[in-house]
């Protein structure tokens, strides 16, 4: 069965006919061409598919898109504005937070949600927030450093502008 849903994807309102059994990750990747979110474990364990639903991280491979009717979805593609990377994206780039890159969209989206709630997280809070995201390359040290650095960069920017 299909139904019409309306949602916002990276700020743009969208109306679409979707099947009841369509997963959010398939909708984003196949219907919307947003291939940033990755299918890793395909069972909600690895976090490579994490996107933000109403500002909160959600494994999109175990989420039915029909249940996201009326919500706002944010993916990695919506982060950089006018070619300018977000502090998190820059920090991951500059601190080698990404190696093969497969887990990075999920990591950055989860960290984006964390920094909105808590702009100055300590290492334990970063680890707790990223508990859902697996990385097989970095050993996590550089990822935690990247998130910490992004928080510092945001603080510095706020100081300069205020």
């Amino acid at each position: 069965m299909k139904r019409i849903i309306s949602l916002k994807v990276n700020g743009s309102p969208v109306e679409d006919a979707v099947s009841d059994n369509m997963l959010l990750i398939d909708y984003l990747r196949d219907s919307k061409g947003l291939t940033g979110a990755k299918k890793g474990c395909d069972g909600g364990e690895c976090g490579a598919c994490i996107v933000l639903v109403d500002g909160r991280p959600r494994p999109s491979c175990i989420t039915l898109v029909a249940t996201c009717d009326g919500t706002e979805i944010e993916t990695i593609e919506g982060q950089a504005q006018n070619g300018r990377l977000t502090p998190l994206q820059r920090a991951f780039h500059e601190n080698l937070g990404a190696q093969c890159g497969f887990c990075t969209p999920g990591m950055i989206m989860t960290a984006t949600s964390l920094l909105r709630d808590n702009p100055t997280p300590d290492d334990e809070q970063i680890k707790e927030a990223l508990a859902n995201n697996l990385c097989r390359c970095t050993g996590y040290v550089k990822i935690i450093k990247s998130v910490r650095r992004a928080a510092e960069m945001t603080q510095e920017m706020t100081k300069v502008t205020s």
């Binding site: 069972g43 909600g44 175990i62 039915l64 249940t67």
Partner: protein, 322 residues
């Protein structure tokens, strides 16, 4: 894992009445709250669903009332809300701790109390792809006629792995159930039976709607053993509630998950006297836990190790409360 979910019809009721009607009128209907367990199981071909009744839109299920007298938690309250609730401290602490230890933050965002209490049992021979299970001639829990864990037995040994049940059982919680015959309330411990394929005592068409916890004194705590610090299901989980009687003796209540096909209460016959030496008391308590639990080869970790570690965890938690 299959590439796509099998076809099904999604129903999104806005009220409990609508949900019960949907559940009754569709024979192959199953309930879904956060979907963090059932969607994964559907993708692995473990559950065949014609109609999925999504409870996430029912506002009545999402209330939490805590006053001086008692606590009532709607089945649709998310684990994240429970983990962060400022009122779930002291005697209710185990509830928040258990909720905060379930899976990862992305799951707790949508996973609900009701979903965790009704979580499907798990087994090394069951939570696998269709190909894997087919190559192994399936098992008692799915279209097969043998339990690979205990081939000589006649029942499924899949382990109940919900974290919320023991935390609520040590607080003498009861559950509110609504179905075609009206509402009923049963002690939480009586919601379960020791059978991996049929572990829930819910009748067809019934929905678990809320949990009631009577007024508490003392303190409670919950912790679990697992291979990784997050996301993993518990190899064993232990909840302990503690209070002191008028003579200053220490009374414990203890419940365990992950070791049997149902969460179990461990009977602790005597309280620890006010001036009693705690070491022999806790040595006895460890033996009682080891005797009460029955871990099987349902995970990659050896049953003997799980039996020893769950008893060690139980006495560690109990000691920390006094």
């Amino acid at each position: 894992m299959s590439e796509f979910l099998p076809d099904f019809r999604l129903v999104r009721p806005q009220s409990l009445d609508q949900a019960i009607t949907a559940l009754q009128s569709e024979p192959g209907a199953r309930l879904c709250a956060g979907g963090t367990d059932i969607i994964v199981n559907m993708r692995r071909g473990l559950v065949e669903v014609e109609t999925l009744v999504d409870l996430s839109g029912i506002a009545d299920l999402k209330t939490l009332d805590l006053d001086g007298n008692a606590l009532r938690i709607g089945a649709g309250v998310t684990l994240r809300e429970l983990a962060q609730h400022p009122g779930l401290i002291g005697p209710y602490q185990a509830i928040a701790q258990a909720a905060g230890l379930v899976a990862g933050p992305g799951h707790r965002q949508v996973a609900t109390l009701g979903g965790n209490l009704c979580l499907d049992t798990r087994c090394l021979y069951y939570n696998q792809s269709h190909w894997w299970r087919k190559a192994n001639d399936f098992c008692l829990k799915y279209h097969g006629d043998i339990c690979h864990v205990a081939p000589k037995g006649n029942r499924c040994r899949a382990a109940f792995s919900g974290d919320m049940a023991p935390a609520l059982m040590v607080l003498d919680a009861s559950v509110e159930i609504i179905g075609p015959d009206g509402a009923r309330r049963v002690p939480l411990a009586k919601l379960y039976r020791e059978d991996g394929t049929d572990f829930l005592m819910l009748k067809p068409g019934e929905i678990l709607t809320a949990v009631h916890v009577p007024v508490q004194r003392g303190k409670s705590t919950y912790d679990k053993i697992r291979v990784r610090g997050a996301v993993d299901f518990p190899l064993a989980g232990v909840a302990v509630a503690w209070r002191q009687d008028a003579d200053g003796a220490h009374l414990f209540q203890l419940a365990v998950t992950g070791t049997n096909s149902m969460p179990i209460n461990v009977d602790i016959p005597a309280p620890l006297g006010k001036d009693e030496d705690p070491d022999p008391y806790f040595a006895t308590l460890e033996k009682l836990v080891q005797k009460a639990v029955s871990p099987q080869r349902t995970s990659t970790i050896a049953p003997h190790y799980r039996r020893l570690s769950v008893s060690a965890l139980a006495s560690r938690l109990a000691r920390a409360l006094i």
